[in-house]
């Protein structure tokens, strides 16, 4: 039956008026035509006015804003001894974290005077961390912890590895102390939530790189700055997820509790927190991963740890060394992710919750996704009764004895205190990697160069020419109108504000170059994400095969992606783009896959029943119905990509990112670096708002 054949049925009486749903007729928006129109105006304008009013500024040239910031920095440094705020508040916070980091370092990683070695030697540290892993997550994960920490030593990066852990742990603990109460408070008071949520929005939209300069301005550089930076960056996810967890406790349960006369504090302690516990642990997991990522990047403000090694090696184009340090960061990421995840699952098991239908689903997925062999009998999935908790405590107590012996021994013998240098294979590994990379790059050179040229000449150069060589007012107009066409008046306002800020920083031209790279990378991300995501959404096997990789990739701090990209493509813009694509693909792919999977199975079945082909199914049913997820994936892809594109300044990515990097290495460029940070934030907010408002308009099909 086709639409043409169907005459309106005369027999059907119109339903009573009040029952008719109100039909909102929407004018067709002709978005495509409008965008095409804008493009025509743009290209014509560009071809006529190319190269005029581009607002390009030479690298070393400072404008008044930059010098003002430089002055501000000098003032703050001068005021650090006198001003009550910088001396009394900031100074004390700074001193406290410096003191704390040093204390812990002396305990485990640097000589603690008068001893020539730390209070606890490497053997003790390994044993202690293994024990913590055992207590939190179980035997398998304890082994992973021990292997990871030992690798620090074998790679000759013992102190840096431990320092990275120290910064991360201090930040996470502080976040838990601050973030969970704030999240709880937000879940209970609407006004508080309304006040804080927009702040969290902005904080999460800001690329990690943009945090660096303002923090350095206030806290200076060093360990305390790194800690504060890490705390600020990793706090939002925990607050958010805590609030969400408490809010999503079912209203029926809250009501039932209310009918039994619970006080507010009983409600929190006995109902909401226990029921939200799992979600909160997920929040801690997210917080930890964010913290690690930032702890690595904090190398730019002279934060101690593995980030330093990666950064220096990248700057010296020493891929081997960067790969060793980067590999360790990946190991730490996997270790932290797996232990915190296992901790949340374990809690559940100890309570003996088994196999409801959904629980079964989660469990199956977990079983399939486990990437490490399951050794321990201790971990056998389901232990129903509470006594197992008691058993666990006893076994932890028993294991604690050899741990303490290790700690004692590590205080007595120098070889057990200081990781033996003869075990340091870091240099060898780095050389081997360098050799391999050279060989490999030679083998695939034709391919990589071809690909690089294709994207560079086919997409990147023309677009950059168009965006950066257009007069600034033409470009500003183009962005405004695209924003308006896609996202309506609110997007227009957002774009206008962000453009004004970018103009104010005096970095218009650099911002346009960065924007070009971001857009190109996002296009690549979305192509890959669509292909992988559709495959995963439609095919269980593809999903089960690909998802673990995505999960792992997602835990890797953005910084590390630069290493393989540099190895393959050498110094340049393109390397930054490749790293950004690699970083953006996992999240975008997952969102696309979930969207495709989320298409109602009834609709899919009905479409299949009408004899649709696979391609028709994808193009006419699944992708249109998953539109909301696609828009969300693009939004997230943009933000992820932007955050790496700017870090790419380190490997020749140029423009804003490079300015940020230079701001830390060259004293007189500090102001310009901070201005670049502001421009990055403005770009991020602009992209986010346009994507978000267009999602609001087009997302609902």
């Amino acid at each position: 039956m086709t639409a043409v054949d169907t005459a309106p049925e005369p027999a059907a009486a119109p339903p009573p008026k009040e029952e008719q749903p109100r039909i909102v007729t929407r004018d067709k928006r002709h978005t495509g035509w409008k965008l095409l129109g804008i493009a025509v105006v743009w290209v014509v304008g560009w071809s006529l006015l190319k190269g005029q009013n581009t607002l390009a500024v030479p690298f070393q040239q400072l404008n008044s804003f930059d010098t003002w910031i430089n002055g501000l920095r000098d003032d703050i440094q001068a005021a650090a001894q006198t001003n009550w705020f910088f001396h009394g508040v900031i100074g004390n916070i700074s001193d406290f974290f410096n003191w704390l980091v040093t204390q812990i370092q002396q305990l485990v990683s640097i000589p603690s005077p008068p001893r020539p070695v730390p209070e606890i030697g490497w053997l003790g540290v390994v044993a202690l961390l293994g024990w913590v892993g055992l207590a939190a997550a179980g035997v398998r994960w304890a082994l992973l912890v021990i292997v990871t920490v030992l690798l620090f030593g074998f790679c000759g990066l013992w102190q840096d590895g431990i320092d990275t852990l120290i910064i991360t742990v201090i930040a996470v603990v502080t976040c838990i102390v601050i973030g969970i109460p704030v999240g709880i408070a937000m879940s209970r008071r609407k006004w508080l939530s309304a006040a804080i949520t927009p702040v969290l929005d902005i904080m999460q939209t800001m690329p990690s790189f943009a945090y660096l300069a303002p923090l350095a301005l206030i806290f200076g550089i060093g360990a305390s700055s790194a800690v504060v930076l890490t705390i600020i960056y990793s706090l939002p996810p925990l607050v958010r997820i805590t609030e969400h967890g408490i809010r999503t406790v079912p209203a029926t349960t809250i009501e039932a509790a209310g009918s039994m006369g619970l006080t507010q504090s009983q409600l929190l302690r006995k109902v909401q927190l226990p029921m939200a516990r799992r979600t909160i642990v997920v929040g801690i997991n997210q917080c930890t991963m964010a913290a690690l990522s930032m702890a690595v990047i904090s190398a730019f403000v002279a934060g101690p740890g593995l980030g330093q090694d990666v950064m220096n090696a990248l700057q010296n184009l020493d891929v081997g060394t960067a790969a060793v340090a980067g590999g360790l960061i990946v190991m730490i990421a996997i270790m932290l992710d797996r232990t915190t995840t296992a901790a949340s699952e374990r809690r559940e098991r100890v309570q003996g919750r088994v196999a409801s239908v959904s629980g079964m689903g989660v469990m199956l997925t977990n079983v399939v996704l486990e990437r490490l062999p399951r050794w321990a009998s201790e971990d056998s999935r389901v232990s129903r009764r509470r006594p197992s908790a008691l058993m666990r405590r006893i076994s932890l107590g028993v294991v604690a004895i050899p741990v303490l012996v290790c700690v004692y021994l590590s205080r007595q013998y120098i070889d057990l205190a200081q990781f033996p240098e003869s075990w340091d294979f870091g240099g060898d590994i780095a050389r081997k990697i360098n050799d391999f990379v050279n060989w490999f790059v030679n083998q695939v050179d034709t391919f990589t160069t071809g690909f690089k040229n294709l994207v560079t000449y086919g997409l990147l150069n023309p677009l950059q020419d168009l965006m950066a060589q257009s007069p600034w007012w033409l470009m500003a107009f183009v962005l405004l109108s695209v924003g308006f066409v896609l996202g309506g008046i609110r997007a227009l306002v957002a774009v206008a504000v962000c453009e004004a800020i970018i103009l104010g920083t005096g970095l218009w031209n650099d911002s346009m170059i960065t924007l070009t790279m971001t857009l190109v990378a996002t296009i690549l991300v979305m192509i890959i994400a669509l292909v992988l995501g559709v495959a995963m959404g439609r095919n269980r096997v593809a999903d089960v095969t690909i998802r673990p990789f995505l999960d792992t990739f997602q835990t890797i701090p953005s910084f590390v992606y630069l290493v393989p990209a540099l190895a393959l493509f050498g110094v340049g813009r393109f390397t930054a783009i490749v790293a950004a694509v690699a970083y953006g693909v996992p999240i975008a792919t997952k969102l696309v896959a979930d969207g495709i999977r989320g298409v109602s199975s009834t609709t899919v079945e009905a479409a299949r029943a009408s004899g649709i082909t696979s391609w028709q199914m994808i193009l006419k049913v699944q992708i249109p119905m998953a539109r909301e997820s696609l828009v969300l994936a693009t939004n997230q892809g943009l933000l992820y990509v932007l955050s790496v594109v700017v870090i790419g300044g380190l490997v020749g990515g140029g423009s804003l990112g490079y300015l940020v990097v230079s701001g830390f290495s060259q004293d007189q460029l500090f102001g310009k670096g901070l201005a670049a940070g502001i421009a990055i934030t403005a770009l991020g907010v602009m992209l986010d708002r346009v994507a978000r408002y267009s999602a609001a308009r087009y997302g609902r099909g």
Partner: protein, 360 residues
């Protein structure tokens, strides 16, 4: 706002006076929206729901509802979704604050008591069972049942003992250590029931407790409630949208529509003398012979008919009386106590039974 068809004698028989009622609801209103309290007493209050919403933006949920529940009575509030019945039951313990009106439990006014007294009352005097159970997934059955006792501060030994009793009472012995998601829906609701009973409350409130269950399990649970009512004799207020359930469980039924009371009465009154077309339509599918008593089908005796022969009490349900009446030679006398109030013959019985056959 009482039902127009209520006969005075029935009213006397079923509803106690204010003094000894277990629960008294007087002129209870709930209007959702800004400045809702200003509406009551104005002509706006008489507008239909739709008109009121268009005019003021407020939603009339419950409109001037009054009733009394006698101690030990099972009082059913019945209505379709959106009729305001769930709002009504929540106002009884102020889970939703009433806009106007009063609720008395025993002699105590719930609507005016402070936060602390209200909490005490919820802890000790009223138990509630919810449609979606509202169990705590992180606690075992026994701890869910004892939860109310725990929050009011009973010591561990006492509450374990009491909770165990309740678990046994609702037939869940052996499942004390299970977690809610290991149980079927019916069993979960038994936990909900046990939890409500554990505090030994004066009044039990049921908010559509069985609507989420399969029909067979629902029937089991209804019988369970009847059994528990016999054993513990609690006053119960039972919300449902299922007429059969209302007729089966209720000593009296209150029918709501658009927030207002349409009729209050015993099951046979609701079926035999529907207050308006709405109720009539509602009860049209009910097998009348299962609900109506002889009082509803008898006629006045002609001279001589009431002198001798078989007699049956007026409260006998038609279905149960049918065989005796059909077997009798002549008309059967209907008695209320010792007094003959009328007679029924084959014709009267068949009229009810055959009408049903016809309808179905």
């Amino acid at each position: 706002m009482t039902a127009p068809t209520m006969e005075p004698e029935h009213r006397q028989a079923t509803a106690g006076s204010t003094g000894d009622a277990a629960l008294t609801v007087d002129g209870l209103w709930k209007i959702f929206g800004a400045r809702a309290d200003k509406i009551i007493g104005t002509p706006d209050a008489d507008l239909s729901r739709k008109d009121l919403q268009e005019k003021t933006g407020c939603v009339m949920a419950v409109k001037d509802v009054s009733f009394e529940v006698a101690p030990g009575e099972v009082f059913v509030v019945m209505g379709l979704s959106g009729s305001g019945k769930s709002t009504l039951v929540r106002m009884l313990t102020r889970l939703i604050e009433p806009t106007a009106g009063s609720v008395h439990l025993g002699g105590e006014e719930i609507t005016s008591c402070d936060e602390k007294a209200l909490r005490e009352l919820r802890r000790k005097r009223v138990g509630m069972v919810f449609q979606h159970f509202g169990l705590l997934p992180h606690r075992q059955v026994i701890d869910n049942v004892g939860f109310g006792l725990e929050v009011r501060g009973d010591d561990r030994g006492d509450r374990r003992g009491r909770a165990q009793e309740m678990v046994d009472l609702v037939g869940l012995s052996g499942y004390e250590r299970s977690y809610p998601d290991q149980l079927s829906g019916g069993m979960q609701q038994r936990v909900g029931l046990a939890r409500a009973l554990a505090a030994d409350p004066d009044v039990l409130l049921f908010d559509e407790p069985f609507s989420a269950l399969d029909p067979l399990i629902r029937r089991d649970m209804q019988n369970e409630v009847i059994r528990l009512h016999h054993e513990v004799g609690k006053t119960m207020v039972f919300i449902t949208h299922d007429l059969a359930e209302a007729l089966k469980l209720g000593d009296r039924i209150l029918i709501m529509r658009d927030g207002a009371v349409v009729q209050v009465g015993r099951p046979d009154e609701v079926v035999g003398a529907p207050a308006d077309d709405y109720v009539k339509d509602f009860v049209s599918d009910v097998p009348k012979s299962h609900v109506l008593t002889l009082r509803w089908v008898m006629r006045d005796a002609k001279p001589g008919e009431a002198d001798s022969g078989t007699s049956l009490p007026a409260e006998t349900v038609v279905r149960e009386a049918a065989r005796a009446v059909l077997a009798a030679e002549g008309p059967v006398r209907v008695v209320d106590g010792d007094r003959v109030v009328g007679v029924v013959d084959d014709e009267d019985i068949l009229r009810v039974v055959v009408a049903e056959e016809h309808a179905s």
